[in-house]
Amino acid sequence: MSLRSDWLPLALLAAIAIAALPLMPSAPTWITLTIAGLAMGMMIFIMASGLTLVFGLMDVMNFAHGAFISVGAYAGASVLLTMKSATRASSLASNLAAIVPAVLAAMALAGALGWFFERVVVRPVYGDHLKQILVTTGGLIVCEELIHVVWGPDLIALPRPATLTGSVLFGDAAVERYRMLAVFVGLGVFAAMWLVLNRTKIGLLIRAGVENTEMVEALGYRIRRIFVAVFITGSALAGLGGIMWAMYQESLTAAMGMQVMVVIFIVIIIGGLGSVGGCFVGALLVGLLANYIGYVAPKLALGSNILLMVLILLWRPRGLYPAGK
């Protein structure tokens, strides 16, 4: 199933947003929370999309994905913090001169780490989920400790670049600039992934590989190369999500990747393991609910993701858009 052929999960997304409206004190509050939820969902999607593809295509439970998020965040933050004059400047061009290299550094280092993990840690345990969980969790812990060694154990403050601070007013609704950027970047990443997966032959191969790896090989394609490419791309996206999440929280710690992994696993289970479209809808559902419930009933906010997952799995036991295998 895909977004093209099954619109019910999209309708659920709209229904939740509409249902939240009467619970809000005013329409501007609803707009603010909706944009905040979408922004949070987009950042989670960016971090989770690589993991769901890696699981779907390679059948690998990669708990070290959190390390790629943390390492990406630290690499990007290092660039931003060394270019303070550019980030503090009030011109967008100056800010971009720091943000673009920071994002590239985050993606490059996380991608390189992903390549190393695939070759050294994951490859020997293909086909064995228990060993995958053990060695990738071990890899995550090692990476966290290495971050402590390289960047120190303390929380690092990461002020947002000047032009990404503050809010924009739409009528009476205040929307943070950074959250708007997160929505646009998330949409851009989703659009790029959708185009690659649906309009290119490599995308066809990935989608086919998620369903039936053996048959792709029987058609003459070396799936191993696609595995590596997807692993590196997924890791690079985790790095991108990591630096975005760090700027969103305006701080970073070595444990940030591990902390966000719980939400990421919920999202990819809700979406259907291996489904990028499902991951997108699942991330938006989690983001929206977390913001609405956090406002309406803060005490329930912690459990909202778990409750959402339970309800979705009762409705669709294999997730919103089950993919292959």
């Binding site: 199933m1 895909s2 052929s5 032959k201 066809l204 191969l205 989608r207 086919a208 998620v210 369903e211 039936n212 053996e214 048959m215 792709v216 090989e217 029987a218 058609l219 003459g220 394609y221 070396r222 799936i223 993919a323 292959g324």
Partner: protein, 239 residues
């Protein structure tokens, strides 16, 4: 005539199970060889071993004179061997057209060849943009075979093409295979003796992972006692 495919003393083990025990047979070029046998005889294992999806633990597999027993599956496909598994292996989340585009490794789909495929399997043209997962069982089998022949192949390995198909569809499949026989060499696993008799040039019968009979299909078709001895109840069930 030199054999296009030759198995010599092939043994295959899957985990602790020893499935193929010294399998020996050959496939002549431009012929259709039927691989028959009861359930669990080792027919599917035999095809999967040839395709490199399971490894032969001993013996040799020669394709056009070269040993391919250690060749990886993608390389075998590049040598011109196509495989249609028992479960058809179609990509349900891809459309009919996407399934065929993926199988065309050497470039865009060839219009002439596509017309030929549509003549064999008209349903595929009708459902060109439909998701393969929405097709009926017969249409899925047509798609699986079309995918295998979307480009010229030297050897087609097909596992139980008539399995679960309605009689009318089986007849359409027989007609399609008659056409395929003119173009390529086929090794077909089958349990439906009517289907096998209508198409086979040569026949190989397996039992318990061993070859128990090799010969011409016409001879087996004419000898009911031999059929009963080799295939037993399977005949009564599937004929």
């Amino acid at each position: 005539m030199a054999e296009l495919l030759a198995l010599r003393g092939v043994n295959t083990r899957i985990g602790q199970y020893h499935i193929l025990h010294g399998v020996d047979f050959g496939v002549e070029p431009n012929s259709l060889t039927m691989l028959l046998g009861r359930n669990g005889a080792g027919k599917t294992t035999c095809l999967r071993t040839i395709m490199g999806l399971w490894r032969a633990s001993a013996g040799s597999i020669q394709f056009d004179g070269a040993d391919i027993a250690r060749t990886l599956t993608p390389e075998l496909a590049r040598l011109g061997i196509a495989y249609v598994p028992e479960n058809m292996g179609i990509f349900a989340g891809l459309t009919v057209s996407e399934n065929l585009v993926l199988a065309a490794r050497h470039g865009p789909l060839d219009a002439k060849r596509l017309d030929w495929i549509f003549a064999l399997f008209p349903a595929l043209k009708k459902f060109w943009h439909s998701f393969a997962g929405n097709l009926s069982g017969g249409q899925k089998q047509m798609l699986a075979i079309a995918r295998a022949i979307v480009e010229p192949r030297r050897l087609l390995l097909v596992d139980e093409p008539s399995k679960g198909l309605a009689p009318a569809i089986v007849q359409a499949m027989i007609d399609a295979f008659q056409e395929l026989k003119r173009e390529t060499t086929l090794l077909v696993v089958e349990q439906n003796f009517h289907f096998a008799r209508a198409l086979g040039d040569a026949v190989v019968v397996m039992d318990s992972g061993r070859i128990v009979h090799r010969g011409r299909m016409a001879e087996l078709a004419a000898d009911e006692a031999l059929q009963q001895r080799l295939l037993g109840l399977a005949l009564d069930t599937h004929q």
